[in-house]
Symmetry: C2
Subunit: 206 residues, 2 copies
DNA sequence: CCTACCGATCGGTAGG
DNA sequence: CCTACCGATCGGTAGG
């Protein structure tokens, strides 16, 4: 039990980022409509009145959870992209990147968050748009920058890095993400076929 | 108003496939939890008791709606696949197929159904698994057959038609489907880049 | 086939 | 005195 020492009259309950983390768990487990403010408050060990003082409504709490999540996952691809730029073996670098992307995007919490935001896209389109822009398009843009750098250094021949980044992404994660979003275990078939096709189209030494 | 002539004591309300169509509209508009059995009964002009006599529960009605939907969309790709086999211009045939796939998979009702089934995949995994198998994997399998035929005739060089079918599919629809699932308008960038990359990897005359 | 109604629970807010 | 927080309950609605 997390019975911490609390100097004065400070309450035992959670707030701030810790409260958002608890709310995220509840939303991911129950879905938006299945999640109750009572459960969030109970698991955060605060009253509902306190919860509503930090977040004016259930939808505002949900928006805060998604926004906080996008900030946390913004730099997930950076290490693999830097390894790709530094790698002497282009093919190995792309395979490493592809496996990093799969491990991140196909991880259970990331899939669950995508399912949550997708399900609520009609009711709360601005939250879904924020997620798409801050999380997805940001990472695609960084991949495009890395591909452009490889093209500038003469290792790839790419006219449209943004399009190539999207193609690489969906070659790598399309099939297993689709399977996991629909509940299947995925059974990923390896990223080599994706990298092979990508290099067949964009390798410099044609 | 649809006040039809009814010869005898036949009730005015809907049943069978018409009832499923109304229920599908309600599920697509409201989501699973937002859809009420009262609204389905009201829009079908039957009592809730009659609705429950045809479908024992809300989840059973949902499962029937999804299953009926998968049967309706099973042959959507067939004409484009036959045109691909008969086409003299391989590239034009693939572009035609890609545009047909986009028009179907990105259409608002198909996206809405995918969003519904995805959102409910955790609560009702068997329904999502049925959708994945009967609708998605069936069409991917038919595309794989067509690619295998093109390989057998010497127009493509493909070792794994199933893998190539998945690659083609996600190159064509990955980015715009992702955008539409998250509420964006998509702004599809054309299928030429997808076909170009696919042919770079699988065209026979290497 | 319908009206009426159930046990349970929702998001949100009251007084102290 | 102030703040932060509590137990209790509001009006409506869900699936069945």
């Amino acid at each position: 039990m997390a019975t911490e020492l609390r100097p004065r009259g400070r309450p035992a309950g959670l707030n701030g980022d810790d409260l958002l983390a608890v709310a995220r768990e509840v939303f991911l487990q129950r879905g938006y409509r299945g999640a109750s403010m009572d459960e969030v408050a109970r698991r955060a060990r605060i009253s509902k009145a306190s919860l509503y003082r930090e977040h004016a409504s259930k939808s505002a709490l949900y928006a805060a959870v998604v926004h906080h999540w996008t900030l946390a996952g913004r730099d997930a691809m950076r290490p693999a992209l830097e390894r790709l730029r530094a790698s002497g073996d282009l093919r190995r670098g792309l395979v490493d990147l592809a496996e990093t992307m799969r491990a991140g995007i196909l991880s259970p919490p990331v899939v669950a968050m995508r399912r949550l935001v997708t399900a609520e896209a009609r009711e709360q389109p601005e939250v879904a748009a924020t997620y798409l822009e801050e999380s997805w398009n940001t990472n695609i843009g960084r991949l495009a920058e890395a591909l452009r750098a490889l093209a500038d250094s003469g290792r790839l021949r790419i006219e449209d890095p943004a399009s190539a980044a999207e193609q690489f992404t969906w070659l790598v994660i399309g099939a297993p993400l689709n399977a996991r979003m629909l509940g299947g275990d995925g059974s990923a078939t390896g990223v080599d076929a994706a990298v092979d096709l990508f290099l067949a189209g964009y390798r410099a030494n044609a």
